[in-house]
């Protein structure tokens, strides 16, 4: 009994800190529709600033003032970030802001090391709350009791703010219908800035409150942002109370789960999210969004298939690419092969995201399943490379079919998060099932067959597979199936009225995209000579999103250009620069600010302005 009590209280304390951060994320998303990937970075900066302040200001007063001041500083940073960067790109396609916030996160991880040094920083414990209180025969840390009190207080405070102030009315109105609010003459700019400041304040406070429990480290952002997203989605986007309940649910399940199955912590939150989304597609307390007034994802210019000149251009490009071994050394060819592989990966994501309007946050699952499929076929079935390669897309397609079956009725961020949940579950299986997958050591010794063992041989093999598949993807986009997919994306009602089976079309798109990503994954396994769980991880999925967004989500060739830029740049930076994340992050932020339509989108605009025919390529 006393153990139950102890686990319950620690669960409550964890829930309180989780809720603070999650409520900020939920507010920001509700009003601005921004998937704020940088939320974890603000949390991290909150912890670092709080460390600096608490170690300089003495006494109880100094300590509590420090936490508050740290959160305020983070809020100021958040407001500045919103005003200088995000304001420029609210009009960009959905999810594009994710790219900017992702860039900022990368940069922040290196910046804190630059400013605060590489060591983990352990701040002081809370004055007066260092000890524990004996309750029911258990010692409960007094700081936990404080956190347990802060959770409901924060919920009550937010409720009052949202329901009893004019500002709160505006926030709720914006959450429900932004256009209507703007039409009524409300200055959205300042509303957005203030919401972003409050949201980041909560993130910073959440981070600062960790100082007495945790060490500030440069890697604390990613787990937090993923976990808070899970909490927000379980609770229902935009629902503060939902976030509170979800934080409780996740924390308590975690606290009790480890008593039964200690290793389950790896995937528990995602299992809960998947279960909740399958039963309640909009989370526990979320409501179905009002029917969109504007059409989603409408390209500025209608897409057109390539004419003869364009096709000849593609063939010429492939021909030039085939001559690369004459110019590039062994290393250059390996990089070129890797870039081709990621072009295919990004193009397959593009099929779902841009053509189908189904942004996946878990596309790495298909990529990784492809890699594991090929690796397992060589390792366990002893198949040679050419026979093992098809196992990749097969595995990936089966996985995608399974996800598609559950996820097809979801849309928007809920779809994205369910795919993320599945990807994380697959990742946890690959990580944990050591006997089959080798755990985090992965499967090694997956080297290409003799004819492809030289860098040039492998490059030609990759090109021979990737180029036709890219052409095939383009054919799919302009096939009747592709039009049906776009119809289902642009207007569900009208598409169904003309007889498009929305679910069937989407399901097929998910499987097709999965299989293509699986080919990329299988090639990747042979390129690297092995496969590791991080092929399935969140960073791989985010890389894919960044590539598509960088190229231009509203264009057809965007992913090819975006993947080439992103991959080459990141390989080059990691090889050349110590602070590669800082450089890559700033570069992404700059591109996001300069080309809100992506690189290819900007090129198309530019051509149109020059009086060209204005085709979206």
């Amino acid at each position: 009994m006393d153990l139950v009590f102890a686990q319950m209280t620690t669960g409550l304390a964890s829930a309180a800190s989780l809720f603070l951060v999650a409520s900020g994320l939920s507010l920001i998303f509700g009003v601005t529709r921004i998937v704020n990937f940088a939320h974890g970075a603000f949390y991290m900066v909150g912890a670092y600033v709080a460390y600096s302040l608490t170690t300089r200001l003495d006494g109880a007063l100094g300590f509590w003032f420090s936490l508050f001041a740290a959160a305020t500083i983070v809020a100021a940073l958040g407001a500045a970030f919103e005003m200088t960067l995000l304001r420029r790109i609210y009009q960009a396609p959905e999810l594009f802001q994710l790219l900017a916030t992702f860039g900022a996160t990368l940069a922040a991880e290196d910046l804190v090391v630059l400013i605060w040094g590489p060591e983990d920083l352990v701040g002081p414990r809370a004055p007066g709350l260092q000890g524990a209180v004996a309750l029911f025969g258990k010692r409960i840390p007094s700081y936990d009791l404080l956190l347990i009190a802060i959770g409901p207080l924060a919920l009550a405070g937010l409720w009052l703010l949202l329901n009893r102030t004019r500002w709160g009315v505006l926030v709720r109105a914006a959450t429900q219908d932004r256009e209507m609010l703007a039409a009524l003459g409300v200055n959205q700019k300042w509303l957005f800035t203030s919401v972003f400041a409050l949201g980041t304040f909560l993130a910073g406070l959440g981070g600062a409150l960790q100082i007495p429990r945790d060490a500030a480290s440069h890697a604390m952002d990613l787990p937090v942002v993923v976990e808070t997203f899970v909490v927000v989605v379980i609770g229902g986007l935009g629902s503060t109370f939902g976030a509170f309940v979800a934080a409780l649910l996740v924390s308590e399940l975690n606290a009790f789960g480890i008593l039964v199955m200690p290793k389950i912590t790896l995937a528990l939150a995602f299992l809960v999210m998947a279960a909740v989304l399958i039963v309640r597609p909009y989370g526990l307390f979320g409501k179905a969004p009002a029917a969109a007034r504007a059409l989603v994802g409408v390209a500025a210019r209608p897409w057109k298939p390539l004419r003869a000149g364009g096709r000849a251009g593609f063939v010429a490009l492939v021909a030039v690419a085939a001559l690369a071994p004459a110019a590039l050394g062994d290393y250059g060819l390996a990089v070129a092969s890797e870039t081709l592989i990621f072009i295919l990966f990004a193009a397959s994501l593009h099929l779902m995201m841009s053509v189908g309007g189904l942004a996946s946050f878990g596309h790495a699952a298909a990529f990784g399943l492809g890699a594991y499929g090929a690796a397992l076929a060589t390792q366990w079935a002893g198949l040679p490379m050419l026979l093992a390669l098809p196992a990749g897309p097969l595995f990936a397609a089966i996985g995608a079919a399974l996800v598609g079956w559950f996820a097809v009725s979801l849309t928007g961020v809920y779809f994205a998060m369910l795919t993320l949940a599945f990807a994380q579950i697959v990742w946890a299986i690959a990580f944990q099932w050591v006997a089959v997958t080798g755990g985090d050591n992965g499967l090694l010794g997956v080297w290409p067959a003799g004819f492809a063992s030289s860098p040039a041989g492998f490059y030609w093999l990759t090109l021979a597979i990737v180029a036709p598949l890219l052409a095939a993807l383009r054919v799919v986009v302009f096939s009747p199936f592709g039009y049906a997919l776009r119809a289902a994306r642009d207007s569900e009602l009208r598409a169904e009225a003309i007889g498009v089976d929305r679910r069937a079309v989407r399901r097929r798109a998910i499987v097709l995209a999965g299989a293509f990503a699986g080919v990329a994954g299988a090639l990747f396994a042979f390129l690297k000579g092995g496969v590791f769980p991080d092929a399935l991880g969140v960073p791989t999925s985010v890389d894919g999103l960044a590539m598509v967004l960088l190229g231009g989500v509203e264009t057809v060739s965007g992913p090819i250009v975006g993947a080439a830029i992103y991959k080459l740049l990141s390989i080059w930076l990691v090889s050349r620069i110590d602070l590669s994340k800082l450089a890559l992050g700033l570069f992404i932020v700059a591109l996001a600010a300069l080309f809100p339509k992506g690189v290819v989108g900007a090129l198309a605009d530019w051509r149109a302005r020059l009086g060209g025919s204005g085709r979206a390529r």
């Binding site: 153990l3 102890a6 686990q7 620690t10 669960g11 304390a13 964890s14 090391v113 590489p118 060591e119 983990d120 352990v122 414990r125 260092q130 524990a132 010692r139 409960i140 840390p141 936990d144 007495p212 429990r213 945790d214 060490a215 480290s217 890697a219 604390m220 975690n254 606290a255 009790f256 480890i258 200690p262 290793k263 912590t265 790896l266 050394g329 062994d330 290393y331 390996a334 990089v335 890797e338 990580f431 944990q432 050591v434 755990g439 985090d440 050591n441 992965g442 090694l444 860098p455 690297k528 000579g529 092995g530 590791f532 991080d534 990691v574 090889s575 110590d578 602070l579 590669s580 994340k581």
Partner: protein
Amino acid sequence: MTVRISRAAALGALAAVGLFGSARAEEIKIGEINRYSAIPAFTEPYRKGWQLAIEEINAAGGVNGKTLTVVSKDDAGKPADAVTAANELVAKEGVALIAGAYFSNVGLAISDFAAQKKVFFLAAEPLTDAIVWSKGSRYVFRLRPSNSMQAAMLADEAAKLPAKRWATVAPNYEYGQSAVAAFKRLLSAKRPDIQWVGEQWPPQGKIDAGPVAEAIDAAKPEAILNVTFGPDLVKLVREGDARGLFEGRSVVSFLTGEPEYLDPLKDEAPQGWIVTGYPWSQIHTPEHDAFLKAYQAKYNDYPRLGSVVGYTMMKSIAAIIAKAGSTDVDKMIAAAEGVQVDMPFGPIVFRAIDHQSTMGAFVGKTALKDGKGVMTDFIYRDGAKYLPSDDEVRKLRPQD
């Protein structure tokens, strides 16, 4: 094969340049890979360590009359990126050998790459047993005392404790899993009366310390084995202290005595834990004094264990190339087998049988002194004494 050709071509080109009197021919390039961006707390001191070694080696005239230069790459925390980096070092930079790596999965990935491309690889930090045993390869050597060796050192101490009920807490990945498995196996062999009453596997970097501490406490162990480190350790110590988890219990802990992990805890450093580590300020041997003095003079900072690893790695490479008399892979392998290297803890040998060095570790107890964690009652455990016999190794390691 292509690697051989390109290296032969590169050497040929270098020799040709040498004929015309260029100084560049007089250098040996070492490729180095580590997790610089992902684990700076370890890799910064590590880099300082090897830079100091390179400076000393070249000041003393280099190796075989040539200066050593290092091309250093970041693996961005991913095994796949480490393979890219290794490929760049070998195919583009034309390095004589590869060294470094931190996490076990990266070490194994580079090790597999090295065997495939027939390149010499000195794994400095990865602790997994597999790298020299189950997945051992003739191209790969390892410097640091492995998981099994550290487990054996700690199990020796643990066996002396009266505790019969043991619980474990370890990060849920290969390092944690194999450390716990080795420790359990070795301690149970010495003490058949021991019961394993509970285990916790928090995800690396994401420990939920309160519930974990309570769950360990609920198993009512008399002693605890800890394998967590870094921020996870901080959280576990804080929650455990507040909840009285460690009171009246013995704790045995991997790596906790290393300055990288002990120093951030400041005055909250645990007391009386049996740990492996590096009590840099209290080691008074001529070898270590010389190293310490040089390090502090160059950086105005004290060395961490990573510094010793980085320093010894480069010294080992210099010794191997000097003994081989060339940078030919087969000659370097032949030279490395049984080579003796003088390092800050004394002389070590790279064993011919499994390519593991005999570098040991300091085992002692943690204590608080002047508001900082230190190690007391420590003793240097020579790695050679904690390695299995040749017969056992032949069973563990694929014979080539």
